[in-house]
């Protein structure tokens, strides 16, 4: 584990261990400890796949003093596991929402049905959010779905699209250009400014994809305020 003074008001904590659910839990528990103990100094805590960036108010404390404080926090897995949630996200894999499914399946020597089956059979960790407000990096996918990003990004990926790249899958919370292979779409909102917390999920929560039909997709889409089901684990 490495502590690094990233800027005059931020400290980066990086773990060198393998990326897995345990690491995500460790980061998440460190994040909440810092948020509880040093709330008065904090501007932001940003969790990514193997690191945590802590941004603080340098008018309130010097970077050297804050560095010492952060470093003194004991890390590791907590006995009381943090409450995280599994969210059930509806996905329609119909070709009309899956612009890259056919080509992707061919390139992997899999049938479209196989790709769908493999994709929805796993529960994914939300490893990080970024790129766009509410964009989720979910991992890890089954090795059979591993792929490079598309050589040319698509200019207009639709809101709700489910993508694959490297050993991750993602959800586009808004229309955007992007380089992930699109294999389906979810009709729900992933970033909604109507709510005080615009994202229903957070890093370290989990996502389970539930396959739905095209007609179900359309009917959920009409009911704008629908939130996915969740259970605490």
């Amino acid at each position: 584990m490495k502590y690094f003074i990233y800027s005059s008001n931020s400290i980066l904590i990086t773990y060198n261990s393998d990326i897995n659910s345990d690491l995500i839990q460790v980061l998440s528990s460190l994040k909440s400890k810092i948020e509880i103990d040093y709330e008065e100094y904090l501007i932001d805590t940003v969790q990514s796949i193997n690191s945590l960036l802590v941004v603080f108010d340098s008018n309130k404390i010097s970077v050297d003093d804050f560095y010492i404080k952060v470093k003194s926090i004991k890390t590791g897995k907590t006995k009381n596991k943090l409450k995280s949630k599994i969210w059930e996200v509806p996905v329609c894999y119909d070709p009309s929402y899956a612009s890259d499914l056919e080509e992707f399946s061919k390139s992997k020597n899999l049938s479209k049905q196989d790709v769908i089956k493999i994709h929805k059979s796993k529960v994914y960790d939300i490893m990080s959010m970024g790129f766009l407000p509410g964009f989720m990096y979910l991992g890890n996918t089954d090795n059979r779905l591993y792929c490079e990003r598309k050589p040319r990004p698509s200019l207009n990926i639709k809101k709700g699209s489910i993508g694959l790249a490297l050993n991750q899958t993602c959800i586009y919370p808004q229309d955007s250009p992007g380089g992930w292979h699109i294999i389906g779409s979810s009709p729900i909102n992933f970033f909604d400014l109507k709510y005080k917390s615009p994202c229903f999920a957070k890093p370290a929560d989990k996502i389970k994809f539930i396959e739905i039909s095209k007609s179900r997709y359309e009917s959920i889409k009409k009911n704008k305020s629908i939130k996915p089901n969740s259970q605490i684990i």
Binding site: S10, L52, K202
Partner: protein
């Protein structure tokens, strides 16, 4: 109310930024040149963080439908009220029916137009700063009507001398992947000049290439001021609207003062990086 007759090249409403939501992927946004923007507000008795209009390279034409007090700071843009030239870094009183025309820049890339009281729009996630995907409108358009918060008791006693100065030297500290740079890359980085290329509120590209072939890193947090090196050797300085994480090597970090300064540099300007501790 202020009516937009002509929006200029790129004018947007900004305050000091949207903090506390990077963990869900929301950028900071906010004033590109914090120092100049803060002064524009101070001159007319606003809080330094108050919302105002950030203007890029070529200014807007605005019609006032009420009496206001305003100030303009930052890059040297010549400005006229009903054809009379006005001074920057001073409170200016305008009347209903007056027109303000901010021309293009003579030096610097951005100027700041603050209006006493600040801009009356809804704050979203704690900020009024424009950002696509967060605010419904993210730059001024012809015909827009900008509401101003009523303010009768401001004081204009803050006496300000223009301190505006553009520096070609950018002050940087080491980034987390600094150690990935080879000796000849370091020599080039700290001895050669770099030319500013395509740029916007998200980031600044440079025309010269540095070390080629660095493998991407696992997607990791970045901040405004983070200097990335792409596998093809391009240098990118991230700015206020930058995304929250990225997979390029983070070789350097620009300090806050130089980040303000960079926002006043233009395509084609030459700069040098200087390492500080």
């Amino acid at each position: 109310m202020i009516k937009v007759i002509d929006p200029g090249l790129y004018s947007s409403i900004q305050d000091n930024g949207r903090f506390g939501y990077r963990n869900i992927g929301v950028p900071y946004s906010g004033f590109m040149d914090n120092e100049s923007a803060g002064l524009a507000n101070k001159i007319i008795g606003n809080k330094e963080s108050q919302s105002l209009i950030e203007i890029t390279l070529m200014g807007p034409t605005l019609l006032f439908n009420n009496d206001y007090t305003l100030s303009i700071t930052g890059g040297d843009f010549s400005s006229l009220i009903n054809n009379d030239k006005i001074e920057m870094y001073k409170p200016i009183h305008v009347k209903l029916g007056d027109t303000l025309k901010i021309n293009h820049t003579k030096s610097g890339a951005r100027c700041y137009l603050a209006i006493s009281g600040g801009i009356d729009i809804k704050s979203i996630l704690g900020s009024k700063s424009s950002f696509k995907g967060i605010t419904s409108s993210y730059f001024l358009k012809k015909g827009d009507e900008i509401k101003i918060i009523n303010n009768d008791k401001s004081n204009f006693s803050f006496n300000c001398k223009s301190v505006f100065k553009i520096d070609s030297v950018l002050h940087v500290s080491k980034g987390p992947e600094f150690c990935m740079l080879k000796k000849d890359s370091l020599d080039m980085l700290f001895n050669k000049k770099f030319t500013i290329g395509i740029n916007n509120r998200m980031g600044y590209n440079f025309n010269e290439k540095l070390q080629v072939g660095l493998k991407s890193i696992i997607s990791s947090p970045v901040l405004p001021g983070t200097i990335q090196l792409t596998p093809s050797g391009n240098i990118i300085v991230l700015h206020r609207d930058c995304q929250t994480s990225g997979g390029y090597n983070r070789i350097l970090q620009l300090n806050e003062k130089s980040l303000n300064n960079l926002s006043q540099l233009k395509n084609g300007n030459k700069t040098k990086f200087k390492l500080i501790n």
